[in-house]
Structures are given as structure tokens and as C-alpha cells.
Amino acid sequence: MTPSARNVIPFNPGATADDLLVPVARLRSAVHQLDELRQYAERVALDPRWSAIEWRAICSPLLIRLPRMRQSLADLDAIRLGQCADAGWAARIRTARSEVERRLTGIRVSMSALTSAEVSSTDVVVTVSSDATLLATALGELSALIASRCPAIAHDRK
């Protein structure tokens, strides 16, 4: 992509502030948090550890961001079918949001099993790694979906 092409913001006539149902600033914050959390989840997935201390070190950044992530997901609850001009987008957002919630619960459970043991068993390490991968995928999909309706946010992500 040429530098001038990178400066072009795609025109999306369907997405006005009213259509989005959530203020753009909150959507931008949600996308930022989703992308940040995805990076930490990917790190957990790609860099398995074997001692509880090492796991705590790598999982902590992810765990401390969970409450703010939950708040951002709560903000997205305003996007609903019957309220949004683009029903397809609203349905996909709700599905992706629900998937992120499910994966967050999964990673919390597997991480708590992991960090409570002195030495991690292979099974537990594989489970955490797999849950982190699934979480990273779910976070990436939700973030991309939000950005797809909001050119300014899509531009920020590049």
C-alpha cells in the first residue's frame, strides 16, 4: 500500500454515530482493550511455562486487564437486534461478544488451576495454551467486527 493510499479512510455510509448505538470513544476504547488483551493471550499461547512462578508472571498482565475488559463488553451490550440499523452486524457483534465472554471464563478457570500448582502438568499447560489461543481468536474477531463499521477506528488499528 502506498503512503497516500494508507491515508484514505474508507467511506462507510451506513455507520453514523446513531447507528452504532455506542459512542465512538467507547468503541475505540473497547477495540484498544480487545487488541491489547489479544496480544497478551497470544503471548501465553505461544510461550508455555512450567513453574507456577513463571506462569504467574506471564498470566498477570492478562488477568489484571479482565475487569476492564468485562466493562467494555458490558458497554457493547447496547448493540442489539431491533435497535441497530445493520441487523447483520448487530447479530455478529452479539455472537462475537458472547464468544469472548465464554473464552474469558475458560481462561480464568484453566489459569487458576495452573497457578495453584507448584509444577504444571503437561495436560494443564496444553489446556491453558489452547484456551489462550481460542481467546486470542475471539478477541481478534470482535475487535475486527467493531472496526469494520467504524472507519476511524479501523484506521487507528493499522
Binding site: A87, A91, T95, R102
Partner: protein, 154 residues
Amino acid sequence: MDDPGSPTPPESQSITPDGLAEFLAQHLASLADVLMSVDDNPRLIDASLEDVHEIAARLAKVVKRQVFGHPDFAAEVLHWDIGGMFEHARTNESDNYEVYADDLERHQRRQGKDLAVADSDADKFAIVKRRRAYLETLFDLNREISGIIDILRA
């Protein structure tokens, strides 16, 4: 959930059949949007089930009140024996929603408990059947209301 559209057309006593048809068509568009949005991927309806039911129930309520509750229009549509079919579609949607919502909730609870694959697959298969049955009731309701709109426009 807030009602984004007014359930009562302006001056409902003096509204013409065309005016009522137009009003219903606007409401029906919400349901048609839902059906189109989940057409490629019916699983999308799971996370929005409550909203979808809300849209369908609100639409059915508007039809019941504005068409079957209006002496002139009720006589017109009853002449075509459409009242019974509409009522059947309305109750079918409501009944199937109840069963689907219960099964979905149970499935999500069991999923959270990390069931064995066999149990989980059995759950999934039950959900697929419930989802399909519920979608059929939405298409039926959509068809019945479209028929009422056609009669009002004729």
C-alpha cells in the same frame, strides 16, 4: 428493551387500509432484517434470541391490536380466514422460543461445566434442532403477516 418504533399508528381509528399496510410493512421489515442477517449462519441467532423474540412478539402484538382489533380491518381479513393461521403462527413462535431458550441456557450451563464430548455433541444436536424449528416459526410468522399486508393493500 426500549421500543424503537411506535406500536400505534397515528390516528389509528381513521387510518386507511393502505396506511395500516404501510405501518405493518415497516414493522415487518425488522423481522425480515433478522431473518436475512441469520440466513447464512443460523447460529448467530443464539446470542440474540431474546431480541429476536422481542421483535416477533411486538410485531404480532401490533398486528393483533391494529388489524384484528379494528372492526373494519378484522372483517376484511377474517373473510380470508387468515386470523386462525396468524394466531397459530404467533403461538408457535412463542412456544418454540420458550423451548429453544430453555435448551440453549441448559446447553450453555453444561458447556461451562466442560462436559465429555459425547454429552456435548448430544446437546449441540438438540440445539441445532431447536434453532431450526424456531427459525421456521419466524418464517411462518413473516409469511402470515405479509399475507395480511397483501390483503390490506388489495
